[in-house]
């Protein structure tokens, strides 16, 4: 039995040696196959990248080698030789199935098996495993490998239009990301810099998202530039609109505060409710608190002067902030648009009155025949004017320098206003006294007074408006055009044409 064990051990040692050599060769083969497979994949990717623009596909194709080599190793693990396989392989080198038979009959103790085992051991004692199973890599496979390496190298280096395009597109993408980041930062800065409502912030965010999408969809530097410009134009416009709106609201709030003093408790309650809503919209916590306190006081009897002053100061401060925001944005605070509404027969005013400060009362600019009896008040520089025979809409802008702005474009004609209205807006920090008699009868200039008579000179196309700079106009048109492009079904070629057009006029 011990003799058998010894024989079996020798037999197994021999088989293991053969197996080791076989597995070594198999491993090398499988690895080589894997690498060749990876290289062939890489070659395909290279050829593909020569035709289709994929950024650095020829370089990323190299990564195919790793999974293929791993697959080769996995395949080796699955296919590796067992002892039985190794014994059979050894037999096929001239051992005439001695090893396999002996291996299969290792557990048998009959005489024939012993004799056979002894015969097998005798035969393998002079057997050179290394000679019969040398570690060698097939030259054919190596040649294939080298051929693939060569092919991959050559195809990787050939410059094609597709590759150039891929590079450019990638550059654009990178740039787009960079620009998107910049836009985000800019927007953040804007948000920090200006007091904007949630809704306004959301609108700006939407603009940013839209711009980022546009940037990411860009295929060229031109596209990037356009997208950036569009965003700049849109965001600027949006900011201006928002700031103007805020300013108007602040003015409204201040007006409401000023009205409180002369109102009945019921009206005050109503005004306070408005103020509360305005404070909420403007996210002005102090104002909200002040309004709340005022409401409390009102419930208890009457609003105190202190509360009144407090609200006044806060509303004034809000107005100043809004104005500061406007100035920061390079804008001029809008002039009062409510003055000089000589109720007219003129059409809706649209043009901005030309800046022709007269310093006079306004509202009586209905030339000639306009019954402009409205009176400017304060220091408003009436500017608007009805054209020809109608009343302009001069208004007493009383802002500081008296450069109020005509409400839109004055296109009134025919008749001038009947009654000019004053609409005093006070200067910063000033209390406003609003007269109780705001009806026509109480105004100085009443309808029908004076010697004016109406002479209808017919419609005319002449009017004056405010000066708007070129870039603003073009920006608005560009914005509108892009909005139309987004919402209407315009062919792609035409879209490019339109975009090019606006790009050109934006220069």
């Amino acid at each position: 039995m011990r003799e058998n064990d010894n024989d079996n051990r020798k037999l197994l040692e021999f088989i293991d040696k053969v197996r080791h050599r076989l597995n070594l060769n198999l491993f090398a083969d499988m690895l080589l196959y894997g690498i060749i497979g990876g290289l062939s994949g890489w070659l395909i990717v290279n050829i593909f990248s020569m035709l289709v623009p994929v950024y650095k596909a020829e370089k990323y194709g190299a990564f195919l080698i790793i999974p293929c080599a791993v697959a080769g190793i996995v395949f080796f693990v699955i296919k590796r030789f067992s002892r039985k396989d190794a014994a059979l392989k050894a037999d096929l080198t001239g051992l005439k199935e001695r090893v396999t038979t002996a291996y299969e009959n290792m557990e048998k103790d009959d005489m024939f098996s012993k004799v056979q085992r002894a015969d097998a051991l005798r035969t393998i004692s002079s057997y050179d495993v290394k000679k019969n199973f040398p570690f060698k890599v097939s030259m054919k496979k190596l040649a294939i490998l080298l051929a693939f390496v060569l092919a991959v190298t050559v195809t990787m280096l050939i410059p094609t239009k597709a590759r150039v395009k891929a590079e450019v597109t990638h550059g654009v993408k990178v740039e787009a990301e960079k620009k998107a980041e910049e836009l985000e930062k800019k927007l953040e800065k804007l948000k920090e810099e200006y007091n904007l409502t949630d809704e306004q912030l959301k609108e700006l965010d939407d603009l940013l998202k839209e711009a980022i999408k546009e940037l990411r969809d860009s295929m060229s530097d031109e596209d990037l530039k356009r997208a950036e410009e569009r965003f700049a134009a849109k965001s600027e416009q949006k900011l201006k609109d928002s700031l103007s709106d805020n300013f108007e609201k602040a003015k409204e709030a201040q007006k409401n505060v000023s009205l409180l003093e002369n109102q009945t408790p019921a009206e005050q309650a109503e005004t306070l409710a408005k103020l509360e809503q305005q404070a909420k919209d403007a996210k002005d916590a102090e104002m909200a608190k002040a309004v709340d306190d005022a409401k409390q006081e009102l419930e208890n009897g009457a609003i105190s002067d202190a509360a009144m002053n407090n609200m006044d100061n806060l509303s004034q401060r809000a107005l100043e902030n809004a104005k500061a925001d406007l100035e920061k944005a390079g804008m001029e605070p809008p002039k009062d648009t409510n003055n000089g509404n000589g109720d007219n027969n003129g059409s809706t005013p649209t043009g901005s009155p030309s800046p022709t400060p007269t310093g006079s009362e306004n509202g009586n600019n209905g030339e000639n025949n306009g019954n402009g009896e409205g009176q400017g008040n304060q220091n408003g520089n009436g500017e608007g004017q009805g054209n020809q025979n109608q009343n302009g809409e001069g208004q007493g802008g009383q802002n500081q320098n008296g450069q109020g702005q005509g409400g839109q474009n004055g296109q009134g004609w025919n008749q001038g206003s009947e009654n000019g209205n004053e609409n005093p807006i006070n200067k910063t920090g000033e209390r406003i006294s609003v007269p109780n008699n705001t009806t026509d009868q109480n105004l100085n200039g009443k309808k029908g007074e004076g010697d004016s008579s109406k002479t209808d000179n017919g419609p005319t196309l002449t009017w004056e408006g405010t000066s708007v700079d070129y870039s603003t106009v073009v920006g608005e048109y560009t914005k509108k055009a892009y909005e139309e492009l987004d919402t209407t079904d315009v062919p792609a070629s035409m879209q490019d044409l339109i975009k090019d057009y606006f790009t050109e006029i934006n220069k």
Partner: protein, 326 residues
């Protein structure tokens, strides 16, 4: 059962001596001699096919002498009767009474040469069936055992077909081997002339006897055979069946009926014997290849396509051995 390694070595040596002794009288034909010995050591019968004058009868006689066993020869003719082969009951007088006594025919010998077996009628041919398969002869109601070892060597002429009765497949299947006796080479022919037409006669000495043959037969049965080798042999036999989907296309084309399980038995037994004669204690793939042709060639029925393309069974087996690899 093998007693020790020395016994095996002794047998191998003596078998080698036998081959050498036979070779004294039979020039060339080494493969034929080897195949006949394989059949002898595996208890099989042999069908020798070859043109007349190639020394078939001489071979059988020589084997009988070398193994010191009895030999008889039956010349098969169309008028040969079964009783001429098996023997018959004769009425003889014994102690004043007429009694039937069985008179043994030529089939009662260790080696029987059935010369030109295809010339006898199927009835006579079939009288050998029981002897070949069961090693017995039944005459009337009595069955007689044939001597051991027993072996039938039949010959047939592949050229002459007129007035012959081709052996039916059932009888062919009972031959372990069908051995093709080819024409000798010039060198061999020269030696044959030297022995046969001169006064030089080969002196043959018995090397083994019937008991030795029986002993060797028992030992051969125990010879180990690896699974892979067994599988290989079985794959070859299975592949001869055209009805199987896995069979090669040429088998489907050229073979109408594949080999029976007796073919597999023949390959297994004779490959073991061959391994022993080669001095090995295990069967190798080459043993299977060596015995495949004599074991299969008479067990395959060729199709019309094979006849049309002049493809014989040997060619088919060659193709098969190329197709089926270890």
């Amino acid at each position: 059962m093998l007693q020790n390694e020395n016994e095996l070595q002794e047998i191998i040596r003596r078998v080698g001596d036998c081959e050498a002794e036979i070779g004294k009288a039979i020039i060339g034909q080494k493969e034929v001699i080897r195949q006949v010995l394989l059949a002898l050591f595996t208890d099989g019968n042999v069908l020798l096919e070859g043109v007349p004058g190639l020394g078939k009868t001489e071979l059988v006689k020589t084997i009988a002498k070398v193994f010191d066993i009895s030999f008889s020869r039956i010349q098969f003719t169309p008028d040969l009767m079964p009783a001429d082969v098996t023997g018959t009951n004769l009425i003889v007088k014994e102690e004043g009474q007429n009694v039937f006594k069985f008179e043994q025919g030529p089939v009662f010998a260790n080696i029987v040469l059935a010369d030109e077996i295809n010339r006898a009628t199927p009835k006579t041919q079939s009288s050998l069936l029981e002897a070949m398969q069961e090693k017995t002869v039944t005459v009337g109601k009595k069955t007689y055992e044939l001597p051991k070892p027993y072996m039938v060597l039949a010959t047939q002429n592949p050229i002459e077909n007129e007035g012959t009765y081709p052996l039916p497949e059932a009888q062919l299947d009972r031959f372990l081997f069908k051995i093709q006796v080819d024409f000798p080479t010039i060198e061999e022919l020269k030696q044959i002339m030297h022995i046969t037409v001169t006064s030089h006669k080969a002196e043959l000495h018995p090397v083994m006897n019937g008991e030795d043959i029986t002993r060797i037969r028992a030992i051969i049965r125990d010879m180990p055979m690896a699974d892979a080798v067994e599988d290989y042999a079985l794959r070859i036999v299975t592949a001869t069946h055209p009805e199987l989907e896995t069979s090669p296309d040429f088998i489907k084309k050229y073979v109408s009926c594949g080999a029976s399980p007796r073919a597999a038995q023949a390959i297994f037994k004779t490959s073991k014997a061959r391994a022993l004669l080669e001095g090995r204690a295990n069967v190798a793939f080459e043993d299977i290849k060596a015995v495949a042709k004599p074991a299969l060639r008479h067990r395959l029925s060729t199709s019309f396509e094979a006849i049309a393309d002049s493809v014989n069974t040997d060619a088919i087996i060659d193709m098969l051995l190329k197709e089926i690899t270890p």
